[in-house]
Symmetry: C2
Subunit: 265 residues, 2 copies
């Protein structure tokens, strides 16, 4: 892990880093309390499609967990996102998604994850990369004095952050609880639903009643499929990008319930 | 309103009262901060079927809202419940419900509210009485110096507390927000679903994934039907009576978000 830049502001130290994984450059950020030393809980945040590692919702939850609870927080750009693509490529990807939303094909027959067969195959391949990159990032982060491996690791990721989060959590015993959401599955079992069924850790699962990309029954089906005994689904009215701000309090309360404050907080 | 008994314990004054409504004796309890004077927010709590005004979940939320937030809280026995029936009648009612649960008929074709046509007609009649009794109780409570009519009124009631709460909230502009749940409707509109659709106040709606009495799609349908722009559905695994204890923190957070503390708190 190569630290590229370090900035401290209002008690939060933000370090940009690069990590090489399978020949790919993976750009990331780690946030820790300024002057921190010794191990602490770690939150991994997986961004959504056509977003990146430092969008507003990721940054605000990172600062909140660092300032109020002494946690470390990290985010990386997913394959084909953020600093891994040019502005032009990012814009073309954004236009493709907006077109799919306008055409409403996303809430089609399958009812669950969007797109046709080719798109789903590409997504599965990217998910495999994303999982390998998260594991390598977690290894590197746990080597930092301010993080270590003594405390639980938690995950947050909705939409594409859930598409990649489910295989990550299913295969990563270091992750002890997660906030997921804005994703659904169809009625027939597939590889993704089997991974979801194998997850046992406590979950908070967000869903939007008027999501343009998936139906409430598809979301309910995914929620029912998770193997976790402790899981809660929160449904609010509104669009895919319209999760109410008060749910941020719920993420925080969930992590405190299952992990708690860092030592000394 | 006739006060029958007053007990104060750890900052909470509990007064039992009787109110006569349409020739019926309605037994109730009001909880206020010990030594309170002047107006404050009021929470009305509607108990579930085969329960009564002082079951553990009502008492614990009442004490929490009074102690931490300076609210007043009230509960009354619904028609055919609590001090309005003999122990033998209560036991027979309990056995009827347990039999229905065992037979599983409750999650039948309609998928929503339980029971046959006769039972639904009896329920509608009892709901009419319950609404009239709540309105008379609210009038009487707002006449108390410790409550008054300057602050918002909130409602809490799941299961039968939602069956009666929906027509109450739909016809009672003094109620500004509510926690409801453990209830569902079928796909076809009826009088109950029309009342639900007319509700506009913020709602928190609880549902249990493995409820013996109704299906998740029936719960989702009711949640979708509510006319409120601000509403959140929380779904947890478990049975009708198995709502996780941490949801109590959610009730409290919801009331604080929409009403806030009493003056001086």
């Amino acid at each position: 892990m190569k630290i590229l830049e370090e900035v401290s502001e209002e008690g939060v130290t933000e370090r940009r880093f690069d990590l090489e994984v399978d020949g790919q450059r993976v750009p990331g950020i780690v946030w820790t309390p300024t002057g921190a030393s010794g191990p602490r809980p770690l939150l991994l945040q997986g961004h959504g499609g056509i977003q990146h590692k430092r969008v507003e919702n990721i940054l605000s939850l990172a600062r909140r967990m660092v300032r109020r609870h002494g946690w470390a927080v990290a985010a990386i750009d997913a394959p084909g996102h953020g600093d891994r693509v040019s502005k032009e490529e990012a814009e073309r990807a954004r236009e493709r998604v907006m077109k799919a939303v306008r055409e409403g094909g996303a809430r089609g027959a399958r009812g669950g994850a969007r797109g046709g067969r080719d798109q789903r195959r590409d997504m599965a391949k990217a998910a495999g990369m994303a999982v390998a990159e998260w594991k390598a990032t977690l290894d590197a982060l746990q080597g930092m004095d301010e993080i270590g491996s003594e405390h639980p690791v938690a995950y947050w990721g909705v939409s594409m952050g859930t598409r990649y989060g489910v295989p990550l959590i299913a295969s990563e015993p270091r992750i002890k609880c997660a906030v997921l959401g804005l994703f659904g599955i169809g009625p027939d079992p597939d590889e993704f639903s089997e991974l979801a069924g194998s997850i046992q850790v406590p979950l908070l699962f967000l869903f939007q009643l008027n999501d343009e990309l998936m139906t409430p029954p598809a979301g309910l089906k995914l929620f029912e499929t998770f193997g976790s005994k402790v899981k809660t689904m929160h449904i609010n009215p509104g669009s895919h990008v319209g999760v109410p701000a008060f749910e941020r309090d719920e993420y925080e309360a969930f992590y405190l319930r299952h992990v708690g404050d860092a030592p000394g907080k």
